[in-house]
């Protein structure tokens, strides 16, 4: 590939170029044509601009000499190798090019087609095509672009063949529902037709399709190695075929260039591994767009006019600089410093600078993320927003750091960037797009034809076959649940069920959207409550480390704003921007909230919305929006009295409103129990951690999955496994649910008698529990990487659920499970007591008020005393102390009934009996 090909001897630069000085030695022209060939591929740093400069110069040359050899005006009439069809295409393009030629003469755009990402084009092409015309009937010479192995004619014919004949059958998707006829239907003509309908003149070509098409295999390598040379040829072929299909579309084409956008290369390069050998090659990198500049109008051709004699000229960009002519070129005028730039006749293109940052998965441990600069051109400008995860295909470039007008130096330092050819968004943008926004052009460019590539592109992209195979092997292990749950926070001893619950949370259920109904969440929320010092926080941080995406936050320090999103003013642009808080950031992940009980009320109210609706509504500073927060919440809370009181129920033990507690699928109570053998083993485990270097081996010899592998496993399962519930599992779910509901009756029947049991109204399972059970069964199936939920999944989920309920929803006074405890905060036994207290309180209050005697004003407070006075008086007449919690509830209920009103709060709360209540 080095050196000049034998058939095209290198000539010195021609006189015209010499006059402009500098840089001409990059261009080696062929003897037959005055048009220079495209520069060789290894021109780091000067690539784009130098090419642009050269093209502009040659353009000027063309204008001055009024050469007819412009653009596509010399497409040969020799029949193409594609047979009669190709011949027709040629005929069409001839028609096109002549028209183009005339158009371009009129606008002085001279038929040059500029593509920001690969530079000026059409040079090599037209000269080669001119060559073909010149060659005429002579035996066809093998011509390659200088310095490359690219044979223009071969590329032309191969790509044309590919576009016309590639079918899905060449690269059948692993799973498809296509009929045989569909499989053998050529893919690209349909897409080109759609291109015409949508008027988006971009064709996204999957590079893997090219490499899967046997005749075009070499083309793939050529595209990757010489994008600047090959891509223009591809564009040309596309134009031809398009013209063949839509011969009437000429006019539009004069303004809109058809572009081939290649994507999905076989390999994705890690940003860190880009090195000098990748310069000017097509590369594919992944990352997250972290910032993008505003659109820069990049002048590619300046139009100058002489103020004296109206002589006009155009100057192209040369190494980033447009040099204004110092002297009028009109030989009759020759005035100096009278040249004026005419803005609206100059040609501008859109350009945007952006930065791509590595995503956390690929950053080596303990290192900071790398970034790479992107230059985005034309249609791709503003196609993606900061925060998007992208896979982009582009040409890696180098450019001198300082553009020195003096040519006679060796410019040592080059900065690198990527000229973006194609952008593909990975995953969805976190910020929910409002419905009316729809797709703008840029997005359409990105999204167009996505479905043709189907899921297989996504599927293979991030997980290698080998890795998937390994996951499958793990998933078949009978001890899978044990292995995985032990691998969650191995340094924390025991707590098997909690770990299992957390593991299911990590896998998550399947998100369901039934038309006409609100979508139902698939995320499993878990609450850990328990004694201090039982490593709840470690558990939280372990889960946070394993979750594909997640935020760890403390309820104590975070305001509602910190958890949700807030609006700030961007210091640079003075624009309002929405900054995401923890919940939005953990969309599609786990949000771990420590010290959940210490959270302020306003924050909790936000959590209500998040935990059921999975959205966050923002109405601030003129921005009204709803953000997705489809995250599982893992919360840890401490008991009110720092130590768990076994005499009290969960609601009494933790300072959380029951409405919030009921939204957790699993509530685990972790207690510090005394058990000598357990203590001994736990101590040995902890001491073992200190014995440096010694890996604490598992007692039962279970293999442990390393944390990074577990993370990948979870990510894989979450992404690709969507288990559906089998009939058998559905039956099991129903049976379990009915069992759980019946449990209350049966259990109480044995203790207090059947009749009373029913009257007790204890609730042992509600529809919420059924939903939770479905989610957990799904999560369990997903963990097995199974596509269907089976009865065994349901049983395990139900077992775990009962385990959690047994601890959390047990009424400590009766020892029975009562879900009302979780749902309303009051168990059935409480309810009876409550009614009694209420009766007494009412009579006490009313009695006191009557004693005070009626007053003149009808609505004036009849009698008032502080909250505590009433409580004390009630206690004085009661044989058992009245729990403040229940009294609180009684006061609230009486207030709702309109018997009393309450003034003030806290210590100074006054209870006032209403006159109207007295009258009644």
């Amino acid at each position: 590939m080095s050196g000049a090909p034998s058939s095209s001897p290198i000539l010195g630069p021609d006189s015209d170029i010499e006059e402009t000085g500098g840089g001409m030695d990059e261009y080696n022209t062929l003897p037959e044509t005055p048009m220079p060939f495209s520069p060789p591929p290894i021109v780091p740093g000067r690539g784009q601009r130098a090419e642009a400069g050269a093209a502009a110069r040659s353009g000027r040359n063309a204008v001055a000499s009024s050469s007819p050899q412009l653009g596509f005006s010399d497409i040969p009439s020799t029949p193409g190798p594609g047979g009669p069809v190709g011949g027709m295409a040629m005929a069409y393009s001839e028609a096109l090019s002549s028209q183009l030629g005339s158009l371009s003469m009129g606008t002085q755009r001279a038929g040059r087609r500029y593509r920001g990402d690969v530079g000026f084009q059409g040079q090599a092409l037209s000269s080669e095509l001119g060559e073909q015309a010149a060659a005429g009937a002579q035996p066809v010479e093998v011509r390659t672009i200088w310095g490359t192995i690219v044979q223009v004619r071969e590329v032309l014919s191969t790509f044309r063949d590919f576009l016309q004949h590639f079918t899905a059958a060449h690269r059948p998707p692993a799973k498809h529902t296509m009929t045989d006829a569909e499989l053998h239907e050529p893919v690209y003509p349909a897409l080109i037709r759609r291109m015409h309908d949508t008027e988006i003149y971009q064709l996204n070509v999957d590079a893997q399709n090219i490499s899967a098409y046997p005749p075009a295999e070499a083309l793939y390598r050529q595209i990757v190695s010489y994008p600047s040379e090959v891509m223009p040829i591809l564009d040309h072929v596309l134009t031809e075929i398009y013209m063949q299909l839509f011969p009437d579309a000429n006019v539009e084409l004069a303004q809109e260039d058809l572009k081939v956008r290649v994507y999905n290369l076989r390999t994705t390069t890690n940003m860190r591994d880009l090195n000098p050998s990748d310069i000017d090659k097509l590369v594919s990198v992944r990352g997250m767009l972290i910032r993008s500049s505003s659109v820069i109008p990049d002048m590619k051709l300046a139009f100058f006019r002489c103020l004296q004699c109206d002589w006009t000229t155009t100057v192209g960009i040369d190494k980033g600089v447009i040099s204004e002519p110092r002297q009028c070129g009109n030989s009759a005028c020759l005035q100096k410093d009278v040249i004026e730039l005419v803005h609206n006749r100059s040609v501008f293109v859109d350009k945007q600078l952006a930065r791509l940052q590595e995503t956390p998965e690929v950053i080596p441990d303990g290192q900071t993320p790398h970034t790479v600069t992107l230059v985005v051109h034309d249609e791709l400008v503003d196609a993606c927003k900061a925060g998007d995860r992208l896979e982009l295909t582009g040409v890696y470039r180098g450019e001198p750091v300082r553009t020195n007008p003096r040519m006679r130096t060796v410019q040592a330092i080059y900065r690198t960037f990527i000229d973006v050819v194609h952008v593909r968004r990975l995953g969805r943008s976190r910020v929910q797009r409002s419905a009316q926004e729809g797709l703008d052009v840029g997005e359409a460019v990105v999204d167009a034809q996505r479905e043709t590539t189907a899921e297989q592109t996504d599927a293979d992209a991030e997980f290698s076959e080998q890795e998937v195979g390994e996951f499958r092997r793990w998933s078949r292990d009978a001890r899978l649940f044990d292995i995985l749950s032990r691998s969650v926070a191995p340094s924390i001893y025991e707590m098997e069920d909690v770990k299992r619950g957390l593991l299911l949370q990590l896998f998550g259920g399947v998100r369901k959207q039934v038309p006409g109904a609100p979508r139902s969440r698939g995320d499993i929320n878990v609450l850990l409550v328990g004694d201090p010092g039982v490593s709840k926080s470690q558990m939280l941080s372990a889960v946070h480390g394993l979750a594909p995406r997640g935020i760890y936050t403390s309820g104590k320090g975070s305001s509602a704003v910190g958890l949700t999103a807030y609006v700030t003013r961007d210091p640079d642009t003075r624009q309002m921007v929405l900054e995401s808080g923890a919940l939005v950031l953990s969309d599609d992940g786990v949000c771990a909230i420590d010290e959940f009980d210490k959270m302020s009320d306003s924050t909790r109210s936000v959590l209500h919305e998040v935990m059921e609706q999975q959205t966050i509504s923002i109405a601030k500073a003129g921005i009204i929006t709803s953000l997705n927060a489809r995250c599982s919440i893992l919360a840890a809370a401490n008991p009110v009295d720092s130590k768990w009181n076994r005499e009290l129920s969960i609601v009494e033990n933790i300072n959380l409103p029951p409405t919030l507690v009921s939204r957790f699928d699993l509530v685990f109570i972790v207690l510090d129990t005394i058990d000598e053998t357990m203590d001994r083993r736990l101590a040995r485990h902890i001491v073992g951690l200190y014995a440096e270097g010694a890996e604490a081996a598992d007692d039962e010899g279970l293999p442990l999955m390393p944390a990074d592998k577990l993370t990948r496993y979870i990510a894989y399962a979450r992404r690709f496994v969507r288990p559906a519930i089998s009939n058998e599992a559905a039956d099991a779910l129903i049976a379990t649910y009915v069992d759980m509901r019946r449990m209350g009756r049966d259990a109480s029947a044995t203790t207090t008698g059947a009749v009373q049991g029913a009257a007790n109204g204890r609730v042992t399972a509600t529809a919420r529990q059924l939903e939770s059970m479905i989610r957990m069964s799904e999560a369990h199936a997903r963990m097995r990487l199974a596509e269907t939920v089976e009865a065994s999944d349901v049983h395990e989920a139900a077992r775990l659920m009962r385990e959690a309920l047994r601890e959390s929803a047990t009424d400590p006074r009766t020892g029975l499970i009562d879900l009302d405890l979780l749902n309303t905060g009051f168990a059935a036994s409480d309810r009876r007591q409550l009614d009694a207290i209420k009766r007494e309180t009412r009579s006490l209050l009313l009695g006191a008020a009557r004693e005070a005697g009626p007053q003149t004003e009808p609505d004036a407070p009849a009698s008032s005393a502080s909250y505590h006075t009433w409580l004390d008086r009630l206690n004085a007449q009661s044989y058992a102390p009245v729990p403040p919690r229940l009294f609180d509830q009684v006061i609230r209920e009486l207030q709702t009934e309109g018997v009393i009103s309450v003034v003030g709060s806290g210590r100074n709360m006054l209870v006032v009996v209403k006159q109207t209540a007295l009258a009644g």
Partner: protein, 592 residues
């Protein structure tokens, strides 16, 4: 590598004053005719080995001028810089290290070699670079922003500089005002890229030539390279591009552990540990007004080091000394990263004498609200935060100067970051759209009047005598501390570093003994209705036992050390209990 270079002083001088000439000569010796023969990575390795060989000897090494010293180094000369990598992702550059020039008239071809410099070299009339030639070779280099090591103790700084005279210079400068210490005249440093904002430091862009890559963030390295005033390729802005930055083209670099900063790193013999421990303890006790227990705990704290086992962090031992006298008046001078209260400064200085790196954070509201504790790259490049510190840095927080006032959002975030650093030994570097958890290995010591607002691994109440002693200091009284003689100080420093890096194991029988003791303690406590020993208590006790063990130079835990640790813990708890009793009972629990 040439052995001649190692011996003759002239050769050393040549390497220092004109390193580029030496490198060019090395290149010419390769006899490379064509770009295809040139292996830039191998050549970089060759240059590295050559210079490393030339300065292998510690004495010769010391003759290399220190970059951070006052007086601008000459451009193109060899310098060394002991620094912390603040931002390793400062950008990548391609370097045209071998260019082919062509004479446009004669067609003659010439090779131009350039490496370890960013300067453009001009070509003679008629010559031009043939950019299309395959003879051009590009190499890659990574640029990192490096700053002086934050919190380096004065004695460790002295060790870094070359000779006695320059040491004196450095001292006189550090005694002067902050402005006087700008490293090389006109060159400004980016303030926001130094963890301790506002403190005197020097900074340079260090360029690492492939195959060397920029070391990980926040590591401490010794760089030897060629100094040059260069340009910042990162910025796209034309104006900023013109500003000159001090650059060091790294020829080689070596990573430094904490121990590497202590001179004469001599490992004490096994028998010496006990004596050194007693000496260290006695010294610390005299610092703390004769409080023996506090001195022991402070020693254990200084010996602590966090180790990661599976997903747990083991061995962290942040200490809260309670009972330091409060500072009455709010400091009038602008908040700096130095203690103003005499008592805190007394302790801070004593620790700085013993450890190579210590950072003082006074909890002044202004400073807490204003300073960024966490490094952030939201604005483009990575801006340093106070907690961006190399591993094994001692962080001393003075809570005695905390007064009533408003802690704003920034302050809350800062304290939260510090708390996270204490509890999980990790610091979240803020990058756009993602936070990157970096493992930190900081020892945090909190000095406070009452219990600290931060949660620490271990709280220790000072004895009454110690509190009175410090109160006297606070009131302006002089301390009658018998100064340690320099040789002893040096021994103590070596002792601390050596003991800290000891390997440690717990034999099976000791482990069983501890487990049994734990179980029975819990059973007894349960029977008597006392306070249960929790997992966390056990973990702390084992940590103390480990530290007691290594303080004696023992790599294996013995039951004796375990019992000693338990006794220490017992005494500590008793003190806490008596301190609680001494305080009047707090007001009745708040109403519902």
């Amino acid at each position: 590598m040439s052995s001649a270079a190692r011996t003759t002083p002239e050769a050393v001088l040549e390497h220092i004053s004109t390193p580029l000439a030496v490198i060019t000569k090395l290149f010419e010796d390769q006899g490379i005719q064509d770009g295809s023969d040139y292996r830039p990575q191998e050549f970089s390795r060759l240059v590295r080995d050559h210079f490393q060989g030339a300065f292998a000897d510690a004495e010769t090494f010391k003759r290399i001028p220190v970059f951070s010293q006052p007086g601008a180094p000459k451009s193109g000369s060899l310098v060394r810089f002991r620094c912390m990598v603040q931002d390793p992702g400062y950008g990548e550059e391609l370097h045209l290290s071998l260019a082919r020039a062509v004479n446009t008239e004669t067609g003659e071809v010439q090779q131009r070699f350039s490496q370890y410099t960013d300067a453009e070299h001009s070509l003679a009339e008629g010559w031009e670079v043939d950019y299309s030639s395959t003879g051009n070779v590009f190499t890659e280099k990574e640029v990192a922003y490096c700053v002086s090591v934050p919190g380096l103790s004065p004695w460790a700084q002295l060790e870094a500089v070359a000779s006695l005279e320059s040491a004196m210079d450095a001292l006189s400068i550090s005694a002067g005002s902050a402005e006087a210490g700008k490293p090389s005249g006109a060159v400004e440093v980016a303030e926001h890229k130094y963890p301790l904002r506002g403190e005197r430091h020097s900074a340079a862009l260090v360029k690492f030539y492939s195959p060397s890559t920029a070391p990980k963030v926040s590591t401490v390295i010794d760089v030897v390279g060629i100094y040059e005033l260069g340009h910042n390729s990162r910025t796209q802005d034309a104006d900023e591009e013109k500003a000159a930055w001090p650059c060091i083209h790294a020829i080689y670099h070596v990573g430094l552990s904490s121990g590497g900063l202590v001179p004469g790193a001599r490992v004490p013999a096994c028998g010496e540990y006990a004596g050194l421990r007693d000496m260290c303890q006695a010294h610390l006790a005299s610092v703390l007004g004769g409080d023996d227990l506090a001195a022991q705990y402070l020693l254990l704290h200084l010996l602590s080091r966090t180790v990661r086992v599976q997903d747990a962090k083991v061995g962290k031992f942040s200490l809260n000394l309670i009972g330091i006298p409060a500072q009455d008046k709010a400091p009038t001078e602008p908040a700096r990263f130095a203690f103003s209260s005499p008592a805190s400064r007394w302790i801070g200085d004593a620790i700085a004498q013993l450890v190579p790196r210590s950072v003082e954070i006074p909890f002044d509201l202004k400073l807490l609200n204003r300073a960024a504790f966490v490094p952030s790259a939201e604005q483009g490049d990575l801006q340093a935060g106070v907690l961006q510190l190399p591993a094994d840095t001692e962080v001393i927080c003075d809570e005695t100067c905390l007064h009533e006032g408003t802690l704003d959002e920034g302050g809350v975030r800062n304290l939260h970051a510090l708390q996270t650093a204490i509890l999980s030994q990790s610091i979240a570097y803020i990058y756009p759209f993602q936070h990157i958890e970096m493992q930190a290995n900081l020892r945090v010591l909190v000095l406070s009047v009452g219990k600290s607002i931060l949660q620490n691994d271990c709280d220790l109440h000072l004895s009454k005598d110690a509190a009175q002693f410090l109160a006297r200091l606070q009131a302006g009284g002089a301390a009658d501390l018998r100064p340690l003689d320099p040789m002893h100080t040096e021994q103590l420093r070596q002792y601390l570093e050596a003991a800290r890096s000891l390997d440690f194991t717990i034999p099976k029988d000791v482990s069983d003994g501890i487990s049994g003791e734990y179980a029975s303690m819990r059973r007894n406590a349960h029977e008597q209705g006392g306070q249960l020993m929790t997992q966390e208590d056990l973990a702390l006790a084992v940590t103390v036992a480990r530290l007691v063990s290594i303080s004696k130079g023992e790599a294996e835990l013995t039951l004796a050390s375990w019992q000693e640790a338990c006794a220490l813990e017992q005494r500590r708890k008793e003190r806490a209990a008596s301190a609680k009793r001494a305080q009047p009972a707090s007001s009745s629990p708040p109403p519902l």
